[in-house]
Symmetry: C2
Subunit: 288 residues, 2 copies
């Protein structure tokens, strides 16, 4: 059984190392949903203020660099059971970046057109272009989760998809996109509390779907599907991170840290075109 050794994770030299899934079989019960590796005690972790400003600056540089030929992009991919916080993370993260440099996609139940194509077809259409941070709220991983749990397709088919996904992500990475794949991990009990809160707030009833409870009844099946996904699609170019998500603040902050580390490593630079500043200023002088 592999999981983070709590203290080791806390002392890890980077958030990516702290939350990375080690190679080999994954047992999610071994990943504590309440842990907060590398949380900046005694300060509370929070994706706001200077953390947000820093991310915003890095993303502006990524975008700026792409306007002068830079080819890098980033893809933040979020998976997790209902109420794990995919929507919450995207709101925080997307809200920080400049609209021009971020592309958000919520993948829902495939439309008839999407379903008529290969499962990666709709994903390819939404890959980030150079300079852009793409955010996937669900992704191609849905195709090894829902159809597996509901037995819509035979085991051979969903098992075959792992290899297709790995080949696809290798191609995406080779094109200049750094992948950050996050599994937002909450406990069975936290999901209960969050669903209960929706039931207790009339203005949140529209978010409630009785089918969510049928899915919750398949918790163990979903966890097995997540474990296989984390084990079989955990590659050098597409590593998986398990983000403890019982605390919303820690979850948002941790994803922000994964983004920050990634962008800092890419180290994008503002282009400095060779402008004849004085001549240009002259052209801007007020007309006589």
């Amino acid at each position: 059984m592999r999981h983070y050794a709590a203290d080791m994770a806390h002392d890890a030299p980077s958030m990516r190392q702290a939350l990375a899934v080690p190679p080999g079989p994954v047992v999610l019960a071994g990943y504590d949903t309440k842990k907060a590796p590398r949380a900046p005690a005694p300060k509370k972790p929070k994706l706001a203020g200077s953390e947000a400003q820093q991310l915003r600056g890095l993303q502006e540089r990524l975008w700026a660099e792409s306007t002068a030929g830079g080819t890098h992009s980033v893809l933040l991919l979020l998976q997790g059971i209902d109420t794990a916080g995919k929507g919450g993370v995207t709101e925080h993260v997307v809200g920080i970046f400049r609209p021009i440099g971020v592309q958000y996609t919520a993948f829902k139940k495939p439309t008839p057109e999407e379903a008529a194509h290969h499962f990666l077809w709709r994903i390819r259409h939404r890959l980030p272009t150079p300079g852009v941070v793409g955010v996937f709220d669900r992704s191609h991983y849905e195709d090894v989760l829902v159809p597996r749990v509901h037995k819509f397709i035979p085991e051979s088919e969903w098992r075959g998809r792992y290899g297709e996904i790995n080949a696809f992500e290798t191609e995406v990475a080779a094109a200049g996109t750094t992948l950050i794949k996050c599994f937002l991990h909450i406990s069975f009990d936290t999901q209960r509390e969050r669903l209960l809160r929706r039931l207790e707030t009339p203005d949140k009833h529209w978010k409630f779907n009785e089918a969510d409870l049928d899915e919750r009844a398949r918790w163990a099946d979903y966890m097995a599907a997540f474990e296989d996904m984390l084990e079989n699609c955990n590659t050098a170019v597409g590593p998986w991170y398990v983000v403890p998500s019982d605390s919303k603040k820690y979850r948002n902050w941790a994803v922000g840290e994964l983004l920050r580390e990634t962008l800092e490593e890419l180290n994008p630079q503002y282009p400095h075109p060779d402008l004849d500043i004085e001549a240009l200023k002259k052209r801007l002088e007020p007309p006589n």
Copy 2:
């Protein structure tokens, strides 16, 4: 010559009335770029805090309503000369809303594929679906501006486009989309200051393009093109607003107010599905 009578605009019962372009010929010189109609003195106008929260709440209701069959959407369309603040407004506005309910599009120089189609083709692809606030950073109005000023097309062609645009917007409105068309209005001198600031900040040089100065040299031609656009495409379903934009804070706040008034008038409601709360809560009880 029609323009806002400053005091009248300040006392107008709504922001939409204060900034609306009256029917008839438009002379932009008559619209003061430094005016601040309805600004909440002595407080400084600012799109933040409670104003932002209110907008966020309204937009959530618009989105929520659409999940239960609501058909309304909003389209905020921004035009203005270089440095007028289209990017600044979108950042502020888009940053407020939940990513799931906002769709931002920056229309740039048409790609070869776009140019091969009718000029409204790429616009149709990005219209907001029910529940969504669409934000257009430039739009189909570019097609009666740049090609006119540069004489890429004969006058008969750009003149003919006004009617096509009006017919198109009538269709868009009939489908449930409320249009908010804003012309961000700055003075020649404010543009000079903003371009100068870019030149004086090395990390902003990447935003500078010498061609921007060639466009600036055509200021009068652009103003004439804007005036014709404001006059000829100012319809009941697609009214134009002239937003004084020499002050960035006022500009952002004013656009926020136009959005707020529009959303309040649509008055979207959270759906209240008929849930058997007690039975559902029972299903959520912890297993024994």
